[in-house]
C-alpha cells in the first residue's frame, strides 16, 4: 500500500524535501518523509506503532483502541465498518492505517493525497511482517527489527521450554453462549491464535479446518476429544463457575475428565499485536504447567 502513495503526496513530499535540502539536481523521486500525523483504524497496529516508538506521531485511533493507555486521550475516528472520513481528514493525517476490507475509505484517502497502509489479520508471520513494514514506513527500521527480534526470542524461549514434552491435543474456545455450550466458536487451523497455540506446545484439534474460526457441534467436540480446553476472553466472564459447569456434561472429553479446562482473560490474548508473546506464554503455562514450575 505504501507504493500506492499518490502523485500529490509525492509532489508535496518533493517540495518538503526540496525546502529542507535546497534544490535537488538528481532525477530520481526523493524518498517520502516519515509520516508525522498517523491515524490508525486497527487496534493491533496502534499497539505496534507505540511499541516501535512512533506513538507520539499517532493523532487518532479507532473506537476499539484501548492499549497502550496513551490512546485513551486520542480522538476516536470510527472503526472497521464506520470510519469517520471527515474527522480523519480534519486531523490532517499523512498516514492512515486501514483494514484490508476498507477499500472505499482507502480510495477516499488516496484522492485526498493521504498515504494508507492496508493491513489484514493473518498468522504470527503477518504480525512480525507488519511490525517491520510499519517501522520502515515511519523511519524506525531499527526499532522494528528490535521489537520483532524480541518477540521472536520470546517465542523461541517458549518453544525451548516445551520442547520434548508431549503436546496436548487442544481446543481454543473464544465464544459460547453464557452457561451452555451453544453457539461456540473455536480456533481453526489458520490465524494468529492457531499459531500461538502451536508455539505454546499444543496441537490444535481443529488444525485440519483451514479457517480462522470454526463452529463445532457438540458431537464434533466429543469425537475430537481434546486433552486441554483453553477458553480465552477479552474480558473475564461474569460467572466463571457457570461457564466451567457447562463443560461438565461432556465427561468423555479428556480435558473435562482431567480438570483441564482453563479460562484465560485479557485483551492481550485476542489482539494480534506486540503483546502476542505474552499470550503465547500464558497458553504455554496452561498447556505445560510442569515446564514453568
Amino acid at each position: 500500500m505504501a507504493a500506492r502513495a499518490s502523485r500529490i503526496t509525492v509532489v508535496i513530499a518533493a517540495l518538503c524535501v526540496a525546502s529542507l535540502h535546497g534544490s535537488s539536481s538528481q532525477g530520481t523521486a526523493p524518498p517520502a518523509r516519515a509520516p508525522q500525523r498517523i491515524v490508525s483504524l486497527v487496534p493491533a497496529l496502534t499497539e505496534m506503532l507505540f511499541a516501535i516508538g512512533a506513538g507520539p506521531q499517532v493523532v487518532g485511533v479507532s473506537s476499539y483502541d484501548a492499549f497502550p493507555p496513551q490512546v485513551k486521550t486520542l480522538p476516536r475516528v470510527g472503526a472497521l465498518l464506520d470510519p469517520d472520513t471527515e474527522r480523519i481528514l480534519a486531523l490532517r493525517p499523512d498516514l492512515v492505517i486501514t483494514y484490508g476490507s476498507q477499500s472505499n475509505a482507502e480510495a477516499q484517502f488516496a484522492r485526498a493525497g493521504i498515504r494508507t497502509y492496508s493491513y489484514r489479520h493473518g498468522g504470527i508471520a503477518t504480525i512480525l511482517e507488519s511490525l517491520r513494514e510499519l517501522a520502515a514506513l515511519t523511519g524506525r527500521r531499527a526499532d522494528g527489527d528490535r521489537i520483532a527480534g524480541d518477540l521472536q526470542a520470546r517465542f523461541d524461549a517458549v518453544r525451548a521450554r516445551v520442547r520434548g514434552r508431549p503436546r496436548p491435543r487442544t481446543v481454543l474456545v473464544f465464544e459460547h453462549d453464557s452457561g451452555t455450550l451453544r453457539s461456540m466458536f473455536v480456533s481453526g487451523g489458520i490465524g494468529f491464535l492457531h499459531d500461538m497455540l502451536e508455539i505454546a506446545g499444543g496441537n490444535d484439534v481443529f488444525a485440519d479446518v483451514k479457517r480462522e474460526s470454526v463452529q463445532p457441534s457438540v458431537e464434533t467436540l466429543i469425537s475430537r476429544a481434546p486433552d486441554v480446553i483453553v477458553e480465552i476472553r477479552a474480558n473475564p466472564p461474569p460467572n466463571v463457575d457457570a461457564e466451567r459447569r457447562a463443560w461438565l456434561t461432556l465427561t468423555t472429553v479428556p480435558a473435562v475428565k482431567n480438570g483441564r479446562v482453563h479460562f484465560l482473560a485479557g485483551e492481550y490474548l485476542v489482539v494480534p499485536g506486540p503483546r502476542v508473546a505474552q499470550g503465547v506464554e500464558a497458553f504455554a503455562r496452561a498447556l505445560h504447567p510442569d515446564a514453568f514450575r
Partner: protein, 361 residues
C-alpha cells in the same frame, strides 16, 4: 386435491368459499379412515425420520457400544454422542418443526392470508431483540432450565405477542385480524430497527454471534433446553388440537362462521395464543428458523387439500420430519463444519416446493 391457486393466490373469498364448500362436501364423503390414513402416513414419515436421524452424524458410532450398559456412561463416547449430541437435537428438531409448521397453519387461517407465517406478527422480531440484548450485554441470568439467551428470546417473543394482542383488542373491541396483521408487520419493522441499532453499537464478535443466532441452530448439547421449552409447546399443541373444525369455519369468513354458531372471538383468541406459544417456544429453542412455518403448510395442502382436520396434524408431522431431515443435512454435508439450519431449510425446501408447485400446476 385442491388446485394450487387455492394456496398461492391472495385469499379471494369467493374461490376460497367455493373451495371450502367443495372440501366440506368431500370431507363428508371421506371416511374417517381416510383421514386417519393420511395422518398415519405423515406420522410414519415423521417417526422414521426421527429414528433414522440419530443414527447418522459427522462421526461414526457403534450403536451396540452406545447402548452397552456395562460401560459407564461417563466413559462411553458412543453413548455420549448418541444421547448428548444427537438425540436431544433430533427431539428439538421434531418439536420445533411441528411447532412452526402448525403455528403457520393457524396464523394463515386466523389472518386468512396465505403469506402469513409464524413470524408475521412480530414474534420473531421480539425474540431477536431479546437474543440480541442477551448477546450484546452478556446477560448471565438463568431461570431453571432456561439459560440466558433462550430466556431473553422467550421473553422477547412473549412480549411482542402480548403487545400485538393488546393492540388488536384495545377498548374491549373484538380482535381485528387486519389490525393484528398491520400491528404485527409494523412491530416487526420496529424491532428490525432496534436490532440494527443494537448491532451497530455492539462489537464484531457479538454482531457475528447475533447474526449466527438468526440463522437458527439445533445443537443444544443435552435435554435441558428441550425440557425448558416442552411445557409451553405442550400447552400450545393441546390448544391447537381444539382448533381444526373452527378454523375450517373461520377460513370462510368470520361472519359466515359466526352465523354457523362459531364463537369467533374465542376461536381467534385460542388460535392467536396457541400459535404464539408454539412460535415463542420454537424460537427460544432453535432461533428464528425461516421457511418451515410458511412452506410446510402449503406443501401439505398441495398434497392433502385444505381441510384443517387433516392439514393441521399432517403439517405438524411433516414439519417435524422436514426440520429433522434438514438438520441431518446441516450437520453431515460438510462436516466437521456445519451449515446453519436456516440456510438449509430454505435451500432444500425452496426448490422442492417450487418443483411440487410447478408439477401440480
Amino acid at each position: 386435491m385442491s388446485s394450487p391457486t387455492d394456496v398461492t393466490a391472495p385469499v379471494a373469498p369467493a374461490t376460497h368459499q367455493a373451495s371450502v364448500r367443495r372440501h366440506a362436501a368431500r370431507g363428508a364423503r371421506a371416511t374417517k379412515a381416510r383421514v386417519l390414513a393420511t395422518i398415519g402416513g405423515f406420522g410414519v414419515l415423521a417417526i422414521l425420520t426421527c429414528l433414522l436421524a440419530p443414527l447418522v452424524g459427522s462421526t461414526h458410532i457403534s450403536l451396540l457400544r452406545a447402548f452397552d450398559r456395562t460401560i459407564p456412561f461417563a466413559d462411553n463416547v458412543d453413548a455420549q454422542i448418541f444421547f448428548i449430541a444427537r438425540l436431544p437435537r433430533v427431539l428439538a428438531g421434531a418439536l420445533v418443526g411441528a411447532g412452526l409448521a402448525s403455528a403457520g397453519v393457524v396464523f394463515q387461517a386466523l389472518l386468512r392470508n396465505p403469506l402469513a407465517d409464524p413470524f408475521t406478527l412480530g414474534v420473531s422480531g421480539g425474540a431477536s431483540v431479546g437474543a440480541m440484548l442477551a448477546i450484546s450485554f452478556g446477560l448471565s441470568l438463568s431461570v431453571g432450565p432456561l439459560s440466558p439467551v433462550p430466556l431473553a428470546t422467550l421473553s422477547g417473543a412473549a412480549g411482542a405477542a402480548f403487545l400485538v394482542y393488546r393492540l388488536a383488542t384495545t377498548a374491549g373491541r373484538a380482535m381485528s385480524t387486519s389490525v393484528l396483521l398491520l400491528a404485527g408487520v409494523t412491530l416487526n419493522a420496529f424491532f428490525s430497527a432496534v436490532i440494527m441499532l443494537l448491532q451497530y453499537v455492539s462489537s464484531f464478535t457479538e454482531v457475528y454471534r447475533a447474526m449466527r443466532w438468526l440463522m437458527g441452530d439445533l445443537d443444544i448439547g443435552g435435554f435441558t433446553p428441550v425440557i425448558a421449552a416442552l411445557p409451553l409447546m405442550a400447552i400450545a399443541f393441546v390448544l391447537i388440537a381444539f382448533l381444526p373444525s373452527a378454523l375450517n369455519q373461520l377460513s370462510v369468513g368470520s361472519d359466515a362462521a359466526a352465523s354457523r354458531g362459531v364463537d369467533v372471538a374465542r376461536v381467534q383468541r385460542i388460535a392467536f395464543v396457541s400459535a404464539s406459544l408454539a412460535t415463542s417456544g420454537s424460537v427460544s429453542l432453535a432461533g428464528p428458523i425461516g421457511f418451515v412455518g410458511i412452506v410446510v403448510p402449503h406443501l401439505v395442502r398441495l398434497i392433502v387439500g385444505v381441510d384443517h382436520r387433516v392439514v393441521l396434524p399432517a403439517s405438524a408431522l411433516f414439519g417435524a420430519a422436514f426440520l429433522v431431515g434438514c438438520d441431518l443435512a446441516a450437520r453431515t454435508l460438510f462436516s466437521p463444519v456445519e451449515i446453519p439450519l436456516g440456510i438449509v431449510t430454505a435451500m432444500i425446501g425452496g426448490p422442492f416446493f417450487l418443483w411440487l408447485l410447478v408439477r401440480r400446476g
